[in-house]
């Protein structure tokens, strides 16, 4: 598979979340975290989820990534319905429909950049040599050429995020779940990485669902921004952004439409 081969792509909606609810049993009571969430993501779309801290965003991702199960509702990924019941173990093995990238990059210090990238492939049973060859093909596109044998501690924050994204992409699904991928970066690097991610998304044809705290990040990158309420999370509002926007995606330019969207979102999120 070369760098530009389109990734496997099944027909239909890649992601459909219908009326999902979830609560956790704590020592004292039952804590509802998600109530009746419905979200649809079309193929090739870039959708952002934004909501106050602790509202339940990561919990939703855990459900999508097969790490946890909803109490009710339905999740369909690439035409496959995730089960609501059954042993956690059986359930887990059916996962990996979408590739999940956690907030901190979670690169393993004991693996080189190349070996970090192939982690998902190895877990899926691909041989090391083949996995490495496939990863190498993508290094130029990710701007990582020359760093194959470096160890993560020698990379800058932005580079680390690119390795983490490469690892996610190599899992072989083009539906990506990104949980605050740039939360740990400083503002300037963050903007650079947003530009880069946007470019990659445009070129590679990925479907992206992104969690963020940052209104501006959501607005800059997404086709659609979904604002959530505080816990228990439910959908408070959805903002569609046209593309090309005013002057197209020009990273350092703040367009009128973006400004309006930001204002709307700020109001939505603050007046709780």
């Amino acid at each position: 598979m070369s760098a530009n081969t389109p990734l496997r792509s099944a027909p239909g909606l890649p992601l459909k979340i219908s009326n999902v609810s979830k609560s956790f049993a704590t020592n004292r009571d039952v804590r509802p975290v998600l109530t009746d969430i419905s979200i649809t993501v079309n193929r090739g779309e870039f959708v952002s989820l934004i909501g106050p801290s602790g509202c339940g965003k990561s919990t939703l991702f855990n459900i999508l990534a097969g790490l946890d199960r909803a109490d009710s509702g339905e999740v369909v990924i690439d035409g496959v319905t995730l089960p609501l019941t059954g042993s956690a173990k059986r359930f887990r093995h059916r996962a990996a429909h979408c590739a999940y990238m956690p907030q901190d990059d979670v690169l393993f210090p004991w693996r080189t950049v190349l070996d970090n990238a192939i982690l998902g492939l190895q877990i899926a049973g691909t041989g090391r040599a083949e996995a490495r060859a496939r990863a190498r093909d993508l290094f130029p596109a990710f701007g990582l050429t020359g760093f194959e044998d470096a160890h993560p501690e020698h990379l800058s924050g932005g580079m680390r995020q690119r390795v983490a994204l490469l690892r996610t992409v190599l899992q072989g699904t083009n539906t990506l779940l990104l949980d605050e991928p740039f939360g740990a970066l400083d503002s300037l690097t963050r903007t650079d990485m947003q530009d880069w991610l946007h470019g990659m998304w445009r070129d590679m044809g990925w479907t992206i669902l992104l969690i963020t705290h940052d209104i501006r990040e959501a607005v800059r990158l997404s086709d659609r921004v979904i604002a959530l309420t505080p816990r228990p999370a439910s959908v408070r509002g959805i903002i569609e952004l046209s593309r090309p926007r005013g002057d197209g995606f020009e990273p350092s330019i703040t367009s009128q439409e973006m400004m309006r969207a930001e204002t709307t979102l700020t109001t939505l999120l603050h007046n709780t």
Partner: protein, 262 residues
Amino acid sequence: MDISRAVRTVRRLLPAILLGVLLLVGWELYVRISGVRPQILPAPSRVFAQGIAHSSDLWRHASATLQVTLIGCSLTLIVSWLIATAVDFIPWFRLSVTPFLVASQTIPIVAIAPLMIIWFGFGTLPKVLVIILVTFFPITLGLIEGFLTTSPTATALLTSMGASRWQIFYRLRVPQAMPRFFTSLRIGVTYAVVGAIFAEYVGARAGLGLYMSAQKNSFRTDLVLAAVALTALMSVALFLFTYLVQRIVAPWTVVTGKDTRG
């Protein structure tokens, strides 16, 4: 580059070396001035000279001790990896094992070592058991805690990739546990030597512990102290050896001394 590193190392060690020399000189002077008899407190020069004079005996016994220590450590490693792995896979097992690990440290070996000989004869077994008793706790606990340092996010990542519990264990938890493991291994090997001496003290065919006990009975305080010094040297050597092993087995855990501030 390498020379400047050596210079730095020496400079770091200098205060300790100076303090050590000072203590030795003070001790020597005290002995010479007070005229205390060597059976009671021999001068360090005498300990050294007699140690050299009896070096072949000392080496013979030291090698016996070293052998037992290494066997004991190897067994401890096997057992503690087994237990720690079991604990990592079966959480309630942890609750039942940890109190026993802690309790094992509260058992006075002085009292148990002679019983070990009654129970298991005077071969290698009782000595190895004493060593295990002494080293098992820090190493197993270090491993268990090492496994627990694994971040939930990393586990979630692997799980989302469809990894089995076993894959998560050996691809993530084991490497993650390495720094703690080596820290506790260092503590473990130090205690192992002391434990071996201990076991030999109460019953053995050979070993520094036996030697110390025999020399004590022959009023040779100087040779007892020579054996003590040799024991300390052995412990320190094993201690440093673990760094070497760590550099080979888990190089990423070794701080390279590189300036990380950019």
